[in-house]
Assembly symmetry: C2
Homo-oligomer: 758 residues x 2
Amino acid sequence: MKQYILNDFALDNDSLKLGETIFHNANGYLGVRGSFEEGYPEGYDSVRGTYINGFYDFAAMPQAEKLYGLIEEKQTMLNVADTQGIVLWVDGERFSLFEGTVLDRTRCLDMEAGVTTREILWRSPSGRTVRISVKRMASFWLLPLFLAEYRVEAVDFSGEIRLCSSHRGDVRNYFDPKDPRVAGEAFRHLLVEKTEWEGDVSYITSVTSKSGLRAVSAVRNRLQAEHVQKTAVRTEDTVEERFSFPLKEKETAVLYKYTILCDSIRSGDVRGEAAKRMEQALSVDVEELYRRQREYLAGFWKNCAVEVEGDRDLNEALHYNMYQLIQSAGRDPYCNIAAKGLSGEGYEGHYFWDTEMYLQPFFILNEREISKNLIRNRYSILEHAKENARLLGHKKGAAFPWRTIMGKECSGYFPSGSAQYHISGDIAYAVVSYYLATRDLDLLEESGAEILLETARLWMDMGNYYQGKFHINAVTGPDEYTCLVNNNYYTNALAQHNLRWACKAVGLLEEAHRAGRVLEKTGITEKELEEFAQAAEAMYLPYDEELGINPQDDSFLQKAVWDIASIREEEKPLLLHYHPMYLYRYQICKQADTVLAHFILEDAQDLETIRRSFAYYEKVTTHDSSLSTCIYSIVAAKLGDMEKACRYFGESAKLDLFNTHKNTKDGIHTANMGGTYMAVVYGFGGLRIKESGLYLHPRIPGQWTAYRFRFRYEDAVAEVSVDKSGCTISLLEGNPKEIHVYGRECRLEAEREIRVTQ
Amino acid sequence: MKQYILNDFALDNDSLKLGETIFHNANGYLGVRGSFEEGYPEGYDSVRGTYINGFYDFAAMPQAEKLYGLIEEKQTMLNVADTQGIVLWVDGERFSLFEGTVLDRTRCLDMEAGVTTREILWRSPSGRTVRISVKRMASFWLLPLFLAEYRVEAVDFSGEIRLCSSHRGDVRNYFDPKDPRVAGEAFRHLLVEKTEWEGDVSYITSVTSKSGLRAVSAVRNRLQAEHVQKTAVRTEDTVEERFSFPLKEKETAVLYKYTILCDSIRSGDVRGEAAKRMEQALSVDVEELYRRQREYLAGFWKNCAVEVEGDRDLNEALHYNMYQLIQSAGRDPYCNIAAKGLSGEGYEGHYFWDTEMYLQPFFILNEREISKNLIRNRYSILEHAKENARLLGHKKGAAFPWRTIMGKECSGYFPSGSAQYHISGDIAYAVVSYYLATRDLDLLEESGAEILLETARLWMDMGNYYQGKFHINAVTGPDEYTCLVNNNYYTNALAQHNLRWACKAVGLLEEAHRAGRVLEKTGITEKELEEFAQAAEAMYLPYDEELGINPQDDSFLQKAVWDIASIREEEKPLLLHYHPMYLYRYQICKQADTVLAHFILEDAQDLETIRRSFAYYEKVTTHDSSLSTCIYSIVAAKLGDMEKACRYFGESAKLDLFNTHKNTKDGIHTANMGGTYMAVVYGFGGLRIKESGLYLHPRIPGQWTAYRFRFRYEDAVAEVSVDKSGCTISLLEGNPKEIHVYGRECRLEAEREIRVTQ
C-alpha cells in the first residue's frame, strides 16, 4: 500500500508551511496547499495558496542598472482563490488545534486513492469531544475539480454544530511584511470582478492586473445533516455559507465541498465553462469520483512500478516522489512543470530546464502523453524563444527562456539565467530522447524537428571557429557557481548533439517523405544543414591531457581549488554567503555539470575519462543545488561504485519528505524527484536508450535485497527485476525486441523471461 | 585671452540643457548650472541644479534578483537649492527670451576672470527695450559663495522695473515624467526644515531623507537703484524678495545676489557657518571679489600654461577643458571629482577611476594641493573599501568601490562595476605617481603607504598560483564590452605595479625611519611583503607568441572579431543596442584597455609589442567611451604616428565644447578633459616621470606651428616649448635637475635654456 502517514507536524510557522507543501493536492492543472480548513490563529503565517498551472500575471522586475536587453518584467504564478475555508463551531466553541485538547491527530497521503486525509480527535475547552475527518482530492479525472469532504462526529455529547464554508477572492501571493526583500511584492495581482450565486453554486470571477487573464472559481457545498439552517453572505470579493444543525452523540455530519477552477487561457467563456464543469462534477456520485481517482492511479502505478525491497523508508520516499511528479505535470500545451510543481510559490511557478533533464526521462518512459505535451508546450513558445534570441543579439535561431511561464524570459540576473543557453540544447535533447524511446515521427514532423532546427541555428550564431575548432563563448553551464565562461563542456557537447540531430531529424523526415512542413516552416537550406554538420564535427570539447579529464570550461582548471572540507556549516549553501563573483573565481561547483554531460552523452568520452572526471569534480562539488546528487548517483553506479551511488541516491530520494534542504516549505523539488527515479532506472538499472538501441546494466546496492521497475520502449512495456545474482527481464506488452543487457544482445519476447547475470 | 563666446544656443530643450552644462559655474565645492534666471515657459524642460560636492542622500536601488552581496542602496548627489531665480518685469511686461523681440544675445565664459556672462538686448511686446547683463561667479576665494550680478538698462524708455529674486528649497533632482525608466527617481530627497530671515539675509535649512545630512543656503540681495519699494514673501520652503523702482532712459540698475551654501559634512553648526560665510562675502567689495577670482586664475594659468599655435579652436577647447578641471576638483577630503564634475546629474555625482587615471595626471603636474587632497579623500574611505572587500568575499585587503560618493559601493551591475577591481590598482598608481613627481614622503607616511599595502593585500587574496604564475581571475578591465575575464592584462600589470610599490613604499619609509605608523596601522609582516614581491615577480601577463601582442585577457583572442566597419550608425553606441552578454562574446572594445596599460606601464613590454598591440586593438575598438581616444592619441604619439595622434586628439579635445557625444547636456566629461591635457603633455610632449627620473620626447603635429606647456617636478617648475625643429626647456623655479630628453641626459638649470632637437 502506498501511503504516507504522519502524526502531523508541530504547530510552528515553519512546520505548518512544510505540512502545507507535503500534503498539497494537485493534478497537473490545479494545486491546493494543505492548509488547515479552519485557519491559524492571528500571528501565524502560512502560504495558503491555490494555483492553476500556467496562470500568471506580469510583474515589474526593475533592474538596478538599466542595460540593454536586461529583463524588467517577469511572470508570476498567482494564488487564484481560497476555497479551503471550513470553520467549525461545537456548541458555540470554535474548533482550533491551538485551543482545547488535541487527543489525536494524524495526516495521511494515500497515493493509491489519490487523496490526503486529516484525522483529529479534539476536546473543546468545555469538554465536548469531536472526531473530525477531512479528505481532499484534486481529481485526475476532472482536472478543474478539487473536492473536500469534511466529517464531524459528536463523540460524547449532543449539541449544536455550525459550519462556515468560505469562498474568497480577496487573495494575494505570499509575502512576508517583516522581510523588506519581499515587501515589494505585496501587490494584489488578481482583482475580483464579480461574486455571484447561481442556484447553490457561488462563483467568483477575477481578472489579473496586467496580463488580462480571467479565472473563475465555483464552489458548491453539499451537507449531509438534518434540520439544517442555512445562511449565505456575499461581499464584493467573498462568499460564505453558514450551516447550523443539531448533532446527536455518536452521529456524524458530512460536508462535501466542490471547487471548480477555470481560466481564460484554456476557455473563451470561463464562467460558462466553470458552470459546465461543476455540473459534470455534481452529476457523479462522490464515491464514483473516488473510484475514478483510484482507477487513474492504478494505471499510473502499473506503468511506472518501481519497488525496492529491503528499505521501507526509501521505498516510501520513492513512491512519494513519483506521486508528486504525476501531481505536478501539466496535461495541456498551455503549461509545463514548475520547479515546485503546484505545491508552493518558490520560483514563482516558473518552468526551467528541470523539465527536460530531470522530468522528461520519467515521463518518456512512463507517461508518453504527458511527455509529448511538455514538448508541445515548448513548441508553443518557439516564437517567444526566437524573440528572446533577437533580444540577446542573435540574428537567427531560438533561445529558450531560462525561466518562464508564458514564454518570455523571467530571469533577472542573466549570468546564471539567460546565459544558461544550454536550456535550448536540453529541450532539443528531450525531443531526441522522446523520438528514440518511441520512434514516433509524428511529433518530429509536427514540432520536434522545427525545435531542433531553430536551436541548431542559435548555436551557429553563437559560436565561432578558432584554430579549426567550433567554440561557444560567454555562456553558463548547469553549475551556477561558474558563470559566463567559454566552451563549457556540457553546453558544447549538447550543442554538438543538437546540431547532429537537427540534420538527422531532417533526414528521417525526408526518408519518410514527411519533411515538407518543417522545410517550409523553417526555410532551412542544404547549406545550413552542411554548416550544422561541420560545426558539430568541429565542436571543441575541452580535454586536459595532464589530468585526463574534461575541464568544465576553458579556464576552470586554472582557478584556485576551494577546499570543500574547510566550508563551515554556517557558510552553507555558499550562494547565501558569498558574492557570486567570488564563487566564480574558484574551482567550486554548485552541482553536477561535466558529470551530467557524462551521463546524458556518455559516448562522447571513454569510460576512463569519465571515471577521472567524476573523481575530480566530486572533490569540488558542494551539491548546493537539489539537481546534483541524483546525477552523481547515476554516474557512480555506471562506474560500479555502488557505495557512493547509494549514498548520493539516499540524499536525493529523501530531500523533500525529510526536508533535508530545509526549504520544502516553499514547495517540493520536482527535478530532484525526477532525479530519484532516474537514479533507480538509469543509475542502478543502467538503462539507456540510444540510436543503436536499448541498453540495461542492472546493479544492486548492498542494502537492498531486490528491486524492480517497468518502462515503455517503442510499442512495448517491459519489467526488470533485479536481485543479488542478476536480473530478469520480461516483456509485458508489445512486439519482441533486441536489447543489450550487460553489453550482450538479448531477444525480449512475450511470455519468455530473460534471466541475465552480470 | 581665454574666453569662450557664443551667440548662445537655440531655445529647444536639448540646447537649453546643453547651455546649462557648458556655462555652469563651479569651484570644486559648489556648482550651479547655467539656467536662465527668469526660467523657461511651461512645457520646457531643463536641469536647474545647484550642487555641493560630496553632498548626497542614500537611494534604494533594488536588484531584479537578490543575490548575496549585490548592492541595493546607492548614493546620489543632490540638487540642494535654487537661488538662480531673478524675474524681471519691464513696465508690467515680464521678460522672457520666448516673447517679445530678442535683438541680440551672447553668452561668454571668461576663463581668466572666472565668470560667465549673458548679454541680452530685448524689446518687449509693447516696444520697450532693455539691455540685460548677467555675470555669475562661483568664487575660488570663498568656496561657499556663488554671486550673480544682474544689470538692467532702460535703453529707450523710462518706466517701472520690477525684480523678483527667489530662493527656493522645494527642489528635487531631475527626472523625466515621460520616461518610465527614471520616473522611479521622482523622489524628494531633501526636505526643508526651516526658512527664515535674519536681517537682509534669508536662510533655508534642509535635511536629507536618509543620509541625515543638512544643507543651508543663504541669500542676500543688494540692489543699486533708487526709490525702491521692497516686499518679502516667505513660505514653508521658499523665500522671495520683490523690488519695484522707476528707471529712467539710459539708466542702469544692478542687483547683486549673493548665495552661500554650507553643509553638515564640513561643519557642525551649518546655519552659523552660513551666516559667517555670508558676512565674509559681504565684507569685501564686489570688485574685490572679482579681483581675487582673477588672481586665483592667474596663478592657475601660470602653472598649467598650455598653448598651441596654429589651431585657434583647439587652443580654445584645451583651455575650456583645463578650466573645467579646476572648476570640478574637490578642495577638501570630503569630496573628489565627479564624472560630470559639478555640471550636471549624469552618473549621479559619483566618483570613478577617472580621478586617478585621467585627472590626477593633470593635478600632479600642476596643482599639488588638489592632487594630495584627492588621495586623502580616497584614504578617508579606506575603511569602506575594506568592508567592500569583505562583502566581495575577500578575507583581507581593501577593494575600492567602483563608483561612490561617501565610500560605499554604488554599482548596481557588478560585471562592469565592482568587477573592475583595477580601480584599487588605479588609486595605488596615483599614490605612486604623486610620490614620483614630488618625492614627498609625508603623504606616503600619512596615507599613501597604507593604501598601497591594503590594495596589495587585496590582490593576494584575489589571485592564485597556477603553473608557477600568479593569476587573477574573474575581473573586468577598463573595457566594459568584455566582462568577468581571467588575467586581464591591464589589471595584472597594474596589480604587479601595486605589489612592487607596496614593498618599495615600506622600504622608503624604513630608510627614512618613518615606517612606524604604517607598520603599526596595517600590521604588515615581513612574510607578507615577501609574498607581495614573489607574486609581483610571478605575475602572469598574457602574451600571444603568434601575434606578438599582449592579449587583453586569457580568452580575448579566441573570440570572433566584430567587424567595426559593419556597425551601422543606428547601432552606435553598441551598449545601447546590444545585450551585454552578446558584446562579451566578441573581440570588440568599448575603450582603450591593453593600450592604456601600454601607456601607463610602458616598460612592462618592449616597443615592438606595444606597436603591434596598438595596431591590433585599434581595429577592434569603437571608442564608445569618452575615456578612449585620448589614450589612443598618446600611444600613437609614442609610436611616432603623428597623423593618428592628432586625429584621436581632436576627437578628444572637442568632445564637450562641440557636444560630439550628444550627451553634454547631462554634464561635462571630466575624464576626457583630463585626457586632452594628457594627450598634449604625455602624448605630444612625451613626458614621463619614472623611478629613474623625468623623460621628455616632444613631437609636434603637422598642423601646429608651436606649442608649449609647464609642469612641476619635485621642487621645480619647468616650461617646454616645442616647434618644428625641436624643443626648448627652461627651469622657471627650483634647483637644477638631470632629465632625459629624446633619450639623452640633460641638465636643467635656472636661466639656461636647453635646446634639443630630435
